[in-house]
Symmetry: C2
Subunit: 690 residues, 2 copies
């Protein structure tokens, strides 16, 4: 296979004659020596470097592209050059002329190693899109999709060897691709003969290698070369269904979208949906139908965005909280509405997508992540997979705040999890001036500790309320209410500015200092804005937030005790709520324990990211299944210390726990001696505990 | 556990004190020593003796009954007595009072070994029924059904251990029954919680352990103890669909029935059905629907006969010729109508029964035996499994005669198979006076070689035609035609009586001897009966039979040559045709090679028997899959010697092959020197070869 070329090649070849060429693959860093003439694809495979290929080395699919890095890589002792790779052969030239090969790119199935090389395997950044109000961080997921496309040329039927057409297809899939003991999706059996003949005995099979049986399955079959297959990662939230459409071959996200969960019409929150099922004979069926229809139409939306035929979707991964999980799968969630909160099933599940009425390719599979416990669902498992506390040396706290907060705490040694009934206050539901995040809603607030005057921003307006031109800019949208996440910031600012005491009582004495402190029955409110709407923060609002944050903190505290730790190293806020709150204010309020603020991060829809990881790499499925089976679940309702932690956590930020790191960046208000004796506060607290 | 009893026991115990009791199980003959107090069921299991049990040793299902054989079994050195088994305990007494325990029977889960025992495990003879015109031989199939019923008591949900209900069910199925890595049929997932609660946490799961995945599957779930499960074995023939309904627990056939294949309305024979598909856009779909509906209604019929709820059917095994196989599974059979006769799939297949519209339990599975070749189908595989040439030391010829004859030949060393296009003559279709087997049809014939006078029997009449009272008895039904199988006998008798020559020509010279030889254009016919109908056998009829038998023999001969043998040791005639012809006449005509007549047996619907074997013992599935993969298939159309064998086989019984064994029991006619020169014969033969 030695090919003579320029004198430079000859020189190199002479120098390295005693050794085979050295090839380094980037970014994996894997390296090895290979005889001159070895196709680059074969070299990559023998090192375990992932390079996609559908056509099996025929230079027709173009999936195996690589790039030679030119230069002297002294650290690796490699002088790499395009002269060290074979020139474009006839097959590759044909591909380049028919399909287009970007400058510098080569087909690794055809390009042969002639000398030392540094080879770049282009990686597509897979998580690069925003999913409806839920940020996703950039990261590269190592690809190992459950579905692989395999092109084969099948022997024609032969009367001397009367194996069936399907059986000969299997023979070739084993011979060319190594698939043993292949099974086939039943709907394909009647189609095999037609497809083989249409493709003139050349077909592409989609092999699913992560069926719950241990045997690989033929799940799709097309005449000729089929060069693309897609997957769906979906998080079914109580409020929003969020979805990614991804190429299973490149890992690229080609569409991301979200839609409201239509079950909202049966009940705003989870428990009201369970009630609906209990009260209505067809309730479960109606909600299952509603969510499946929404998923199907969302698939249509992401497919339109990505210009993808929905029948090219071959694999799907879903996450959701336990009640969404059950309703989506057609399981009555009634048991989840009452102790002992028994899940019908906690382990991971696999279906044919059509079995649960999802309209994609008939051979598509659907994988549902495992649930951790009755209130810690497949969504928490997804977030756990995404953020990976179990992969950390540091102690990581992962919080997903919704009507129930799902809390996961741990590191590589041990992980514990719980849910805590925060109620809907964090979502703005129990706040007097609360509203959905929409234009006109206040989303940021600062209060001057001297004057107690606020300044704020509203959604849809660039300027702060104290900047010139705000009034004009805001005229179009108005100032209509407080959005869910902003309430955290407001209450924290009210505390930092001394308007409320450590116990959360609006200090009526401040009314003398500012007209914004206004009486409201036997308590006081803070007037945030006076316009078409009068927007105030009432004592009731503050109590609602206190109850919610105390529940969350008490749950976290129980888990910290279970692990015998007094602080956490890093905190991840998952979910929409986490993306819009300022970690500093969350900590000032005492939602979360003290931590270096640099280490508190919003991770957006981590549940969805986990689904995406499980979609693109089946290894992550085993990883999260094993992790979930090892996570220790704490049922907060059964823990005697929960009440004590809860009561301590009612204070700002906490009656007993110190926040030394936060104290380095926050100026705490002077303690209000009188606050504890305030009649309004005391009375109100008693009422709120009734 | 030593229980003091009569002095006899004490004596025995003393004598055997140095050794554990010896227990022999019959009919398996397996034996072993077990400590006093060992439950008999445990002893059986440890020896691999098959004893059914659903309740898992709770003495409630009654499936594990055994019987102690009393007496001195000198050969085995065992004195066995009911005193050597523990007396009825409270559980067993409760079972006996509630359910009934036949005299002498014990529940092996409760009965403990106290001394030496000979224990009889009652075997139900499973193949004991006649299936519509198809005889089945009595035999015992060792039971190892794919479906097992397992009763378990599941832990109630516990908030400290939030495993799902299904997951806890799996834990218990592993703990009590050893099932690892259980999967579950998707339709059961939403039902698990309700069933567990209805059964007060005691349920019976049906485990299918022969899914095409290697993992066991929960395919059924019932509250409390479920003590019965059924299976279906079905042979889809071109003309008749035959079915057995069997208890998977006892192996007993509880219903057997048959029905016409409704596809007959689309075409009488296989090729006309393929043509129908080719000519009609919805033809395949219509025929698939027709056969599935017929199967569903036949299931209703056998269930009514057995008083079984069709939803208690959990497993099914089907066989059929390649075209029936394809149409039943919804596969277009067009390719089977033309060379190279490509099967869509030849390997065994598994489905959920509902996937092919079979209405039984939603969790029922359907197993289809593999096909051997384009014209040697799953029915031939079933017959091969039933008769087992591959299990024989002797060389066995297995023939299933229909429109196509399926031929399997071999022994434990090597098996070959072929099909031969016999055409419909054997079914009476090309015979001038041919008719279906129905009252009035001639079914037996003898011709006096001296007088050339015939005597015969007709279906529906006891007497032979030459017996007194025949005319009166036959008056009711008439003498209306010749049934398919009788034509063999008539032509053979015509040959033996010298009416036709070795070459099959009706000897016109015989007209001088008998008025029954009558001119018919340029040839002669034999007048069998003159009544309301005139029933003759024409030269054309004889030619049709010659062509059919020559095709069959030539196929057999090719296989014999392939194995390099000049005789076979034993012959099995499968199918309806085989059940009604006399082997002697088949051999006189030269349908089959020479063989000891004692070794020629009709085995009825061997294909259906094979299906039944695969239903009751999943080991037989692997056995036939492996066997089929090893069978060498011969395509007669491609073998150059076929023509030569065919021409030789046109003669009676054969131009070149000797029939030494047959010659010992048959008096051959004098050779007719003139026959070969007969103008009619020569002309007729040329025409029939056109």
């Amino acid at each position: 296979m030695r090919i003579e070329g320029t004198s430079e090649i000859e020189t190199n070849m002479t120098e390295a004659a005693h050794k085979d060429p050295l090839v380094l693959f980037m970014p994996s860093g894997k390296r090895g020596r290979f005889p001159v003439g070895t196709p680059v694809l074969d070299a990559a495979r023998s090192l375990g470097v992932y390079v996609e290929s559908v056509c099996g080395g025929r230079a027709t699919c173009g999936r195996c592209q690589i790039e030679v890095q030119e230069g002297n890589f002294a650290k690796h002792k490699i002088v790499s050059s395009n002269d060290h790779i074979s020139p474009l052969g006839p097959k590759e030239q044909r591909y380049a002329s028919v399909r287009e090969l970007p400058d510098g790119r080569r087909l690794s199935c055809s390009a042969q190693i002639l000398g030392d090389l540094v080879i770049d395997v282009p990686q597509d950044t897979v998580i690069n899109a925003q999913v409806v109000r839920k940020a996703a961080s950039d990261r590269v997921i190592e690809r190992n999709a459950a579905v692989q496309l395999c092109y084969v040329e099948v022997d024609e039927p032969d009367m001397h060897k009367p194996l069936g057409d399907l059986d000969r297809l299997k023979v070739m899939l084993e011979k060319d691709w190594g698939w043993k003991d292949l099974l086939i999706a039943p709907h394909l059996i009647p189609q095999v003969q037609g497809i083989l003949r249409k493709g003139n005995w050349a077909v592409t099979a989609a092999i699913h290698r992560d069926m719950d049986s241990s045997r690989p399955f033929i799940v799709g079959l097309w005449p000729g070369l089929k060069n693309e297959a897609y997957g769906i990662a979906c998080d079914i939230g109580s409020t929003t269904i969020a979805m990614h459409l991804v190429s299973l071959l490149s890992g690229r996200i080609v569409g991301s979208s979200g839609t409201s969960n239509p079950q909202i019409r049966f009940g705003e929150d989870l428990m009201s949906r369970v009630s609906y099922v209990m009260m209505n004979p067809d309730g479960r069926e109606a909600m299952t139908k509603a969510v499946r229809e929404a998923v199907n139409s969302l698939i249509g939306k992401v497919c339109a965005e990505g210009e993808v035929d929905r029948h090219d979707i071959l694999d799907m991964v879903f996450v959701g909280n336990p009640i969404m999980h059950h309703l989506f799968l057609g399981i009555d969630p009634t048991e989840l509405g009452q102790a002992p909160f028994a899940l019908a099933v906690s382990g991971a599940l696999q279906y044919w997508a059509h079995e649960i009425d999802i309209d994609v390719n008939r051979g598509a599979r659907l994988y549902m992540l495992p649930c951790i416990a009755g209130h810690v669902g497949a969504d928490a498992a997804g977030a756990t997979l995404s953020e990976g506390p179990y992969r950390q040396d540091k102690m990581m706290l992962l919080v997903d705040v919704g009507t129930n907060a799902e809390i996961v705490l741990g590191n590589k040694d041990r992980v514990v999890a719980a849910s805590s009934p925060t109620g809907p206050a964090f979502e703005g539901a129990e706040i007097s001036s609360g509203q959905r995040a929409a234009p006109g809603a206040i989303e940021r607030v600062r209060i001057d500790p001297e004057t107690l005057e606020p300044r704020f921003r509203v959604i849809g307006v660039e300027k702060w309320s104290d900047e010139d031109g705000f009034a004009e800019a805001a005229a179009a949208v108005g100032v209509t209410g407080i959005c869910g996440s902003a309430i955290i910031e407001i209450v924290a600012e009210m505390y930092l500015s001394g308007i409320i005491s450590q116990d959360g009582v609006v200090d009526g004495a401040m009314a003398a200092k500012s007209p914004r402190i206004i009486p409201n029955g036997r308590t006081f409110s803070y007037l945030l804005h006076e316009g078409q709407q009068r927007i105030t923060v009432t004592q009731n609002d503050i109590r609602a937030i206190q109850l919610a944050k105390a529940a969350l903190y008490a749950g976290i505290k129980l888990l910290m005790e279970k692990l015998d730790i007094d602080h956490v190293d890093t905190i991840r806020f998952a979910g929409a709520f986490g993306s819009f709150i300022d970690p500093k204010y969350a900590m000032v309020l005492g939602l979360i324990p003290d931590c270096d603020l640099e280490e508190v991060k919003a991770v957006g829809n981590a549940a969805g990211t986990g689904a995406l990881m499980a979609l693109l790499n089946r290894g992550h499925r085993r990883e999260i299944e094993q992790t979930v089976s090892k996570i220790e679940k704490i049922e907060t309702a059964l823990e005697s210390k929960f009440q004590e932690h809860f009561i301590n956590a009612m204070a700002m930020p906490n009656k007993v726990d110190a926040f030394p790191k936060l104290s380095q960046v926050v100026t705490w208000p002077e303690p209000k001696v009188a606050a504890d004796d305030g009649e309004g506060g005391g009375r109100r607290r008693r009422r709120s505990r009734e």
